[in-house]
């Protein structure tokens, strides 16, 4: 077999050359790779290291423990209770459905819920825990723990949730927390990232809302390493957050519980205030609601029931309820006239039962008239005609100025929701808002707190505290934040002649201590506890001539929501006032019958720090009072038990 020669020196050299070219290309390519590798691993190393860390390290926020809200003595009004829940992890459970059905024999869990949980479990990655049930009691947790081997992947966990042990008693002041809503986030310029934690709750109303930042604290954080699918591999480090600060309120839990019980489910409000410091000792609006319902997520049915209740349980009547102050305004009118120098202490005015002003007849509440009355007896007997006269002498401008000094038209800066400024009318106000000139009739109405004047129970209490002390006491609700006592600025004097105040005090003392006083039946006989007060009955609806003809004469004949509001303001003890009280019973009828007895009980309770001895009450009433006290005691006890608003953890 013969073939041409394969190898010649020439072909050999050519192959060597070609191999050199191939080798050169390979070397160039490897050089490029090496250069690229060096560039990435040496020059850009830090950058890539950062990216690698960003990949693997996640920050998780640790929600801070919310601060407690307590009363002035440390009784917890809003606390954190341990919330036992049970979670399932799919990858540990294997057959989730079977595990859940076994669990259903231990805790209440209906088939629909099981189906819903199964669906939810499948939506998440297999290692993500899904909550099955919350707020289990200790026995249920123990049952689950005991049966752990039969419940793979199902574990009880414990977390903290807000709890209001006093139930409905402090619902309006303390408020409640709820899940963060879109609107909450919109309201904030730079929302705290902690708000994004699923299930995080923030204050919705009351102190919980208005002191949210103080109570919330600052979130801690955990740096955790995760893998590509997000599974947590380990915790790298942890930075504990700052728990929220505790807030101690000025409220007295025992007193507020009593006030709430004494209002007895009426649509009413009662405020007790320290006349020197302005501390609000009780601020109860009735009826109330259980704030714990809101924390757990209130049902639509329950919520609608609260919304549709004519007694408006959701409203905090102490600060947002506005009522014509009625006769409780007469002290303002009297002081306006005194300051104007238009009346002396002794001057008597004749009350025939009416007064004709500008062609209109204004009646006194007592049709027969009071005869000749001076200022003290006019207050004591609540003679309207006397104050019609005083109002005309002082004029609306002075009345307006005096009312302003007593807090009308001021929205006090309290950390609760919807604090109203009320309405202290003036000529300017009427022109601006009603487009009409102030008429003399308006002044007559204003004299007895009717017409345009509106005040909240809080403002009524502030007024009586200022009357009692002669100083511009400002109400306050926060005693201490994080253990630091809040300063009480000394209230500036109202700059009223002490003689005038003594006169007013005498008149107010007569209300409940003089035989002819409008609240004489609500007097306190214990000399060290005697109270000064003023009744008020503000008209909601004028009985028309037609109704009068049809036989409607008395308040009781009217439907509830057309009856008069009953008001009472008081301070006590008369000689050295310590507390000021206001009570408003919506559509309660008359101040002397509906509001004054409540105010008296509150005053005694506040002064004695508990149910007072029967000897403080007038002799003939003691039997009735004793029965009432027993009833109250029972109601308070059941409130203290049932009022925890939930099971014990």
């Amino acid at each position: 077999m013969s073939r041409p020669p394969r190898e010649s020196p020439e072909t050999g050299r050519r192959m060597t050359r070609r191999l050199a070219v191939i080798g050169g290309l390979q070397a160039a390519a490897m050089g490029t790779l090496l250069f690229r590798m060096r560039h990435m691993q040496v020059e850009q190393a830090d950058q890539f290291r950062l990216l690698a860390d960003e990949n693997r390290i996640n920050m998780r926020l640790i929600p801070p423990v919310r601060g407690l809200i307590t009363d002035r003595d440390g009784t917890v009004l809003a606390g954190n209770e341990q919330n036992y829940r049970v979670v399932v992890v799919r990858e540990d459970a294997g057959d989730v459905g079977a595990a859940l059905r076994r669990l259903a024999r231990l805790i209440p869990l209906d088939p629909d819920a099981i189906a819903a949980i199964e669906a939810e479990v499948m939506e998440h990655r297999p290692f993500v825990p899904v909550t099955i049930a919350e707020r289990l009691d200790w026995e249920e947790v123990a049952r689950i723990a005991a049966n752990a081997p039969a419940l793979p992947g199902i574990t009880p966990e414990v977390g903290l949730s807000r709890h209001y042990p006093q139930g409905e008693v402090f619902a309006h002041n303390v408020g409640y927390v709820g899940p963060v809503s879109e609107r909450d986030l919109e309201d904030l310029d730079a929302p705290d990232p902690v708000l994004q934690i699923p299930g995080f709750q923030i204050g919705k109303i009351g102190v919980e809302r208005h002191m949210e930042e103080t109570l919330r604290g600052e979130a801690g954080s955990r740096r955790i390493e995760v893998n590509a699918v997000g599974r947590v591999m380990r915790e790298l480090d942890r930075q504990d957050g700052t728990p929220g600060q505790d807030v101690r309120l000025t409220l007295d839990a025992g007193l507020q519980r009593f006030v709430n019980a004494r209002l007895g489910g009426e649509s009413a409000a009662g405020v007790v205030m320290d006349v020197a410091s302005g501390d609000l000792l009780a601020c109860a609006s009735s009826p109330s609601f259980d704030p714990n319902l809101f924390v757990r997520g209130i049902s639509r049915q329950d919520y609608n029931a609260l919304l549709e209740d004519p007694y408006r349980p959701l409203a905090d009547k102490t600060v947002q309820g506005l009522y014509p102050p009625g006769s409780t305004f007469k002290m303002v009118t009297a002081l306006a006239a005194l300051e104007a120098g238009e009346v002396s202490e002794e001057e008597r005015v004749y009350c025939p039962g009416y007064m004709d002003v500008g062609g209109r007849r204004f009646h006194c509440w007592r049709r027969g008239g009071h005869g000749r009355v001076d200022m003290a007896s006019a207050l004591g007997e609540s003679c309207d005609v006397y104050f019609y006269e005083m109002a005309q002498r002082a004029g609306i401008d002075r009345i307006h100025a005096m009312a302003a000094r007593f807090g009308y038209g001021t929205a006090f800066d309290l950390p609760v929701s919807s604090v109203s400024e009320g309405l202290n009318p003036s000529r300017e106000w009427k022109r601006a808002r009603r487009g009409a000139d102030w008429m003399v009739g308006d002044t007559i109405n204003a004299a007895i707190g009717q017409g345009f004047v509106l005040g909240s129970p809080l403002q009524l209490a502030v007024m009586s505290a200022r009357l009692a002390s002669g100083r511009a006491v400002v109400p306050r609700l926060v005693h201490a934040i994080g253990g630091v006592e809040q300063e009480v600025p000394e209230a500036p004097p109202l700059e009223l002649d002490p003689a005038w105040l003594r006169l007013i005090h005498r008149g107010m003392a007569d209300v409940s201590n003089d035989r002819r006083g409008t609240a004489y039946s609500s007097r306190i006989v214990a000399p060290e506890s005697r109270m000064a007060g003023k009744t008020g009955t503000s008209q909601v609806y004028s009985i028309s001539a037609a109704e009068r003809a049809a036989g409607v004469r008395e308040q009781e004949d009217l439907p509830w929501n057309r009856r008069n509001h009953a008001l009472f303001v008081a301070f006590a003890p008369v000689e050295a006032p310590r507390i000021a009280v206001s009570v408003v019973v919506e559509h309660g009828g008359g101040g002397s019958t509906a509001a004054a007895p409540i105010a008296r009980d509150i005053v005694l309770q506040a002064l004695h720090g508990g149910l007072p001895p029967l000897s403080a009450y007038p002799e003939p009433q003691r039997n009735r009072i004793e029965t009432m006290q027993q009833e109250l005691r029972q109601r308070l006890m059941s409130a203290a038990e049932g009022g925890t608003g939930g099971r014990d953890a």
């Binding site: 190898e7 191999l19 080798g23 860390d53 995760v226």
Partner: protein, 382 residues
């Protein structure tokens, strides 16, 4: 050349062959494979299973196969080259019909005993066939168009079949590997220049026509080209993987994060961390020093093989060694370029390091051929 001619020129025979094995190359292969074992141990989270142990077994098997092939005289391999080429073409056709789909392409053929990837086999048989072709061809005719055309056809036939699987990466490797043999055989450089020129012109034309009235391809085809060239425009698909690979590689720094300390691979951010992207784990855990070391090992393999080829006086063993060396080079260069973001992700494993049986066996077989060529080289008359 006949057996007689070989023996006359003192070709080692019998047990003496063992002395003439290119032992340096064997040591280098074991070294590279050991790097693979270490990395597979690491990516398994410090365990021999599921990857390191099978890989060791396969490598042992591969070594045995290499020696078996090495001791068979080289002319035998020359004589069966055409047959082997024909068989692999048939297998490539067969895989079209009975192939199993893996990774989105028809690549595997199940022979019961082993699962065969014909495209891997073809890389070797094509090189063998081309080397035998130029061994047979009169050197005077090498650059004649007819004979060049025949060689090109030999390359394009399997490349087209592989491309239809579709496996663009392997098809390109086949063409480049075949091209290297044709180039080394001494075909006139003008052919290569014109192919390069025409190819560049065609690509330029196609890309330049985009958006004009005489646009060659449809819009969606251009978009596919875009995504192929720049994976970052497809961040959820290939872009994610190449990004994570670059992060792993870059975060290694000079000396790496330490053995089994690579967070990218340990926490599963790396895709295919035990196969195509194993180099990134190496670079992450051992840094630039580690990557450089592997590259040096590869370079040494190239150098020893090329040196062996240069000593050959025969065309077949020389071209066979060159072709196999070029294919080996293309394997690791394309893989590294891919994980460094220099080349599109085409699915080429890192030779001897990536986990995988078929590629490992074929590669060890190819080095068997290189060894056979080395052993059966006539050693002068001395």
């Amino acid at each position: 050349m006949t057996y007689l001619e070989y023996t006359v020129k003192r070709v080692p025979s019998g047990l003496a062959k063992v002395l003439y094995v290119n032992w340096a190359l064997v040591v280098l292969l074991v070294a590279v494979a050991s790097v693979g074992f270490i990395m597979l141990y690491s990516v398994a989270g410090g365990a021999l299973r599921p990857w390191a142990e099978p890989q060791m077994q396969r490598f042992a098997l591969g070594l045995a196969a290499m020696f078996m092939i090495a001791f068979v005289p080289i002319w035998f391999w020359r004589n069966v080259a055409a047959l082997a080429y024909g068989v692999s073409l048939l297998l490539l056709i067969a895989v079209e019909f009975v192939g199993e789909v893996g990774m989105g392409a028809q690549r595997w053929i199940d022979l019961g005993v082993i699962r065969l990837q014909p495209s891997e086999l073809t890389k070797i048989t094509l090189v063998m066939a081309l080397a035998a072709y130029y061994d047979w061809l009169d050197p005077q005719k090498i650059s004649r168009p007819l004979w060049v055309g025949l060689a090109v056809l030999m390359v394009l036939a399997p490349a087209a079949l592989v491309l239809s699987q579709p496996d663009l990466g392997t098809a390109l490797l086949l063409m480049l590997g075949g091209g290297a043999v044709i180039f080394a055989a001494g075909v006139h450089w003008a052919y290569f220049a014109s192919v390069l020129g025409l190819g560049t012109a065609a690509v330029t034309l196609v890309m330049a026509s985009r958006g004009s009235e005489w646009q060659v391809l449809r819009d969606y085809q251009y978009r596919r080209i875009d995504a192929f060239l720049d994976p970052s425009i497809d961040p959820l698909g290939a872009g994610y993987h190449i990004n994570q690979a670059k992060i792993a590689l870059g975060s290694g720094g000079w000396t790496g994060r330490g053995f089994m300390q690579g967070t990218q691979s340990r926490l599963n951010f790396l895709p295919e961390k035990h196969t195509d992207f194993i180099f990134t784990t190496l670079a992450e855990e051992f840094g630039f020093v580690g990557g450089l070391s592997l590259l040096v090992l590869y370079a040494l393999i190239l150098i020893f093989c090329t040196a062996s080829a240069l000593k050959q006086r025969e065309r077949f063993p020389a071209l066979l060694t060159v072709g196999i060396t070029a294919s080996f080079f293309l394997y690791f260069a394309v893989n590294m370029a891919m994980v460094m973001g220099l080349a599109p992700v085409v699915g080429v494993p890192l030779p001897l390091v990536s986990y995988g049986g078929s590629a490992m066996m074929v590669l060890m077989g190819a080095f068997g051929l290189v060894q056979s060529a080395h052993i059966h080289r006539p050693r002068g008359r001395a």
